[in-house]
Symmetry: C2
Subunit: 447 residues, 2 copies
Amino acid sequence: MGKNVTIVGAGLVGSLVSIYLAKKGYKVNVYERRADMRKLQMSAGKSINLALSDRGWKGLEGVGIADEIKKIAIPMYGRFLHHKDGTTGYQPYGKENQAIYSVSRADINMKLMDLAEEQPNVKIHFDKRCINIERNKLETSFEDNSTKKIETVSSDLIFGADGAFAASRLNMQLHSDRFEYKQHYIDCGYKELIIPPGENGKFLMEKNALHIWPRGSFMMIALPNPDGNFTCTLFLPFEGEKSFEKIKTKEQVTQFFNEEFPDAVPLMPTLIEDFMNNPVSSLVTVKCFPWTFDNKIGLIGDAAHAIVPFYGQGMNCGFEDCVVLNDLITKHKDDWDKIFPEYESLRKPDADAIADLAIANFIEMRDKTADPKFLLQKKIEAKFSEKHPDKWIPLYSMVTYSPHIRYSKALSEGKKQQAIMDKIMTTPNIETKWDSVEIENAILNQL
Amino acid sequence: MGKNVTIVGAGLVGSLVSIYLAKKGYKVNVYERRADMRKLQMSAGKSINLALSDRGWKGLEGVGIADEIKKIAIPMYGRFLHHKDGTTGYQPYGKENQAIYSVSRADINMKLMDLAEEQPNVKIHFDKRCINIERNKLETSFEDNSTKKIETVSSDLIFGADGAFAASRLNMQLHSDRFEYKQHYIDCGYKELIIPPGENGKFLMEKNALHIWPRGSFMMIALPNPDGNFTCTLFLPFEGEKSFEKIKTKEQVTQFFNEEFPDAVPLMPTLIEDFMNNPVSSLVTVKCFPWTFDNKIGLIGDAAHAIVPFYGQGMNCGFEDCVVLNDLITKHKDDWDKIFPEYESLRKPDADAIADLAIANFIEMRDKTADPKFLLQKKIEAKFSEKHPDKWIPLYSMVTYSPHIRYSKALSEGKKQQAIMDKIMTTPNIETKWDSVEIENAILNQL
């Protein structure tokens, strides 16, 4: 089989997989719908902060750019909680030195494009919108955004890496019998806001943390950026008592923020104009199957499995797709009749698992992070895990810091742990004896 | 608001709703992708038999064609079971005279088209493939199959009645934020076969029944046609031990049928060529929401809710959509800002319910109809229902003969009944005392 590859999409995953394939000797042409973002002023108002964690780092290490990205990433060692009454709290994300990293989507995407273009056998074509894939002929057609000319390219393999609303996947949905497909939107939307730096680029809140204002049915979060500002994201129901539909006027914005996020308001000088100008975006989960077709066409990243952002795993999961695929290319010596079936059967349960975990984590973040009982449970788990690291890794740590544990395994282990902790938490006076030998033994007995 | 309506699709539901709308004074243009079936020889090999029941009859009565259709419909009063050992059994579908009716999809569709065209304000345009709907402008574009010319029509309302793979719905999926969508294929496919008439058009099996060969993981069914033949449908897994992938050669067809359906084989002279020539088709469930957009565009029938055929309710449910819509047009005096929201909020739970019931009924038909315990349960329910018709209507009767009971209500009542019967069936010696006062009272006590 030849080694010409067409990749639809030069986003995070499209760019990274192009590098992996190039290093394996494939000749790669990447087609991107948008213009070259490296030549443009970025537009604000759409979520641009991501949390990079160990699965993502592993993907970057595989092509040798982890160190370079680390320079523009800000470690966040825990959740910094902002309560309604003005009090604050802090929950470490893992053991000492374990962190997730705030990075700008644009920065990392541009770095990946640069690196892709450094490969002699990768070429990125911009402003090319995928309009069709002829499955039988392996021909992909693109329309140029300005000339409107249609170009049709043949290749030996095609990757759809064009995101949650992938044209490549739609093509497969329309032309493949028995294609399983589901798109589900949660009831909350989000709007991006900003906390600018203080004088001399000073961070006005704790820099090395992910800030959360948990409010039960909604929340605001803030992630640090290298220039001293924080990207804030308000996650709020579209409809209902406290919702985007109820906050339409400037007065309503002021009232809502003063009531719900009093400590943030003084830090947000452009709050009202940002709120009025920035769009409300929706949050979709996409599940589909198969991910590969005729062992010639494959979906990867969000195109195969878009998830909500609440576990900070969307990009990390997509990068892990690349690592798994790369390992399988090595294992099966470029035999795509073996690579693609194993790729989709390995990754599908993991993608389903992180999709479900991400939905569940929204509830944890907006609601449970403010619940003393939940915090106590996390403390008990952390303590037990420290004493018995071979017996217990907290779910968050499995997902975030343990790339050797599959998402699907993390999900099933997490359920077992939760069942155990549900019992432990019913122990009388658990608040006073949470760090006793009795509790330790009770957990050990259940394992 | 004006009264010009565009309907995409002149299938069963598109044709029927055009008549309802015409009778309300709307000017209706119906665009059908296929050629006019009334001018063509029908192609065989695709399921053409449907089971019309009370919800469907009600839809036809509403436009005055129930009597005409009844002439070409064959009542089926029960299930006629064909066991592997050659024995047979019979299960009535309801009380005496309660039947479902075998009708040809083509016949009823052609009658509905005739009736639609009798309305002075309905025009059907054939060979027009919907390629786009401009939601904001209410413009629908169609490509002519032969000339390839594109025609764009404006109207005040648009209905998508173009079936399970609706172009209209796809358009909404692509251009509406927060559109919920799911398509799911069951693991079984189906292939159509035939039992021709005997001499002088004689039916070679019981005419007034739906024939089932239940075999656990698969089944064959046969429905009577007016000319004396039976349309047989084999429902079989795509893959696995007994599956379409395992039956590829003529020898394998012969062996499989001799083993599984010995009493049918002598009645199927063209079995092998039919099996080799006819396609294997797949079975999809489609769920989506919303069904209406800007109170100007609505989905109806399979376009809104495609279901598997095992409850015989696909057409009936689509016709019921038309009845509900018609009632709402009357109720809200042509105010579509009220009609469409109530239409989708009323019908969505009912469509979801019948979709789930249809999936469940596949298991009942292929598996439980051969189970003595299941048959006994049905007998107990029938007896109790006869004595206490105000307290108990069997689920099948609620769905099939009780248009005044919503599908969603039937589903929830059915679950309650099943919970009661699960307990009843654990009564010691239930086989001997099933029709005792003790059992009657035990059911009464649980109600």
